[in-house]
């Protein structure tokens, strides 16, 4: 048979219906014969009921409607980015292709353009590596993605 001290540690979970059946039964039997533990239980019930009745901060109706619409947008911004960046990449690729095929462009111009292109790719690669490292050390990544 459990002591009052042991039972009191279970009262909170008993209140919430989170105890296994056998322990819940033990608490129930104990409460029938122990006035002090019963008083604690009643106080827990009273506090829980009052906390449930506390007023709740409500968002402004219009603000809330806008917020819900933004949060549950079905066309993701990701798709917009993919289309936008894809279009720019396509045009840039076509421009580069035309440029390299153009016999009127001299060598210095070719070198300049390829240097710009190489620099851009290098910068993109360094940013990508940084992002990947940051992602690996992000402790919230599992729940925010």
């Amino acid at each position: 048979m459990k002591t009052c001290a042991a039972i009191r540690e279970l009262l909170s979970a008993y209140l919430d219906g989170e105890l296994p059946q056998q322990e819940a039964q033990q608490v129930s039997v104990h409460l029938r014969r122990c006035t002090e533990c019963r008083e604690i239980m009643e106080d827990f019930r009273r506090m829980q009921a009052q906390i449930r009745d506390l007023p709740q901060a409500e968002p402004d109706r219009e603000q809330w409607g806008n917020l819900m619409n933004r949060a549950t947008m079905r066309t993701s911004r990701g798709l917009g980015w993919i289309l936008g960046v894809g279009g720019v990449a396509l045009l840039a690729g076509y421009g580069l292709y035309s440029f390299t095929r153009d016999p009127s462009v001299d060598t210095l111009e070719r070198i300049g353009v390829w240097a710009m292109l190489g620099g851009g790719v290098l910068l993109f690669a360094t940013v990508l590596v940084e992002r990947l490292r940051a992602h690996r050390s992000d402790r919230y990544k599992d729940i925010e993605q």
């Binding site: 979970a13 901060a57 949060a71 729940i143």
Partner: protein, 170 residues
């Protein structure tokens, strides 16, 4: 793009959990605008994972975990001075300016809640005010269910002690 039944149901659930989360964020951040921003970020994160989410099982726990992390980030930014310290419209559970009829017992309970540690107050409110199950609280706070049980038990005992002291003092 048509909304599927599953998505419609999820939006309804998100609406309910988001409103509850707004009250939570107001209590944490004491600023309605910051609370709205945090809730929107948390709802957006949950919405993005909707294909993998089981709304019956995971929704509230995950939502509160993300929201709590957002609130922690805002509080951390404030400490660094990157964010305003307090807004002009603080709304908290223990703020008497809720515009509703006063009740002595409720005031005593608010006062008792205010004397708890942040950890104790949070777990009591997640359970009794926001109605999360132990499993959901465990997910929200990233602690095992056994720890939820013991922490909540200690918090309620502390609250009872302070509440009875408040009642005795009046």
């Amino acid at each position: 793009m048509p909304v599927s039944d599953r998505e419609r149901e999820l939006i309804e659930r998100l609406d309910a959990v988001g409103r509850s989360g707004f009250a939570y964020a107001c209590q944490k951040l004491r600023n309605r605008e910051d609370a709205l921003d945090a809730v929107q970020a948390a709802l957006t994160s949950v919405w993005r994972t909707r294909q993998r989410l089981d709304p019956q099982r995971d929704l509230r726990g995950w939502f509160f975990r993300i929201l709590r992390n957002r609130c922690i980030d805002v509080v951390r930014d404030r400490a660094r001075g990157a964010h305003q310290t307090l807004g002009s419209d603080p709304v908290t559970l223990d703020d008497p300016a809720d515009g509703l009829a006063r009740d002595e017992s409720r005031d005593q309970l608010r006062a008792a809640l205010a004397t708890l540690t942040e950890e104790q107050r949070e777990i009591v409110l997640l359970r009794d005010y926001h109605g999360l199950s132990y499993a959901e609280i465990g997910r929200a706070l990233n602690i095992p269910p056994g720890t939820v049980m013991s922490r909540l038990s200690r918090a309620r005992s502390a609250l009872r002690e302070r509440f009875l002291a408040q009642e005795g003092a009046s």
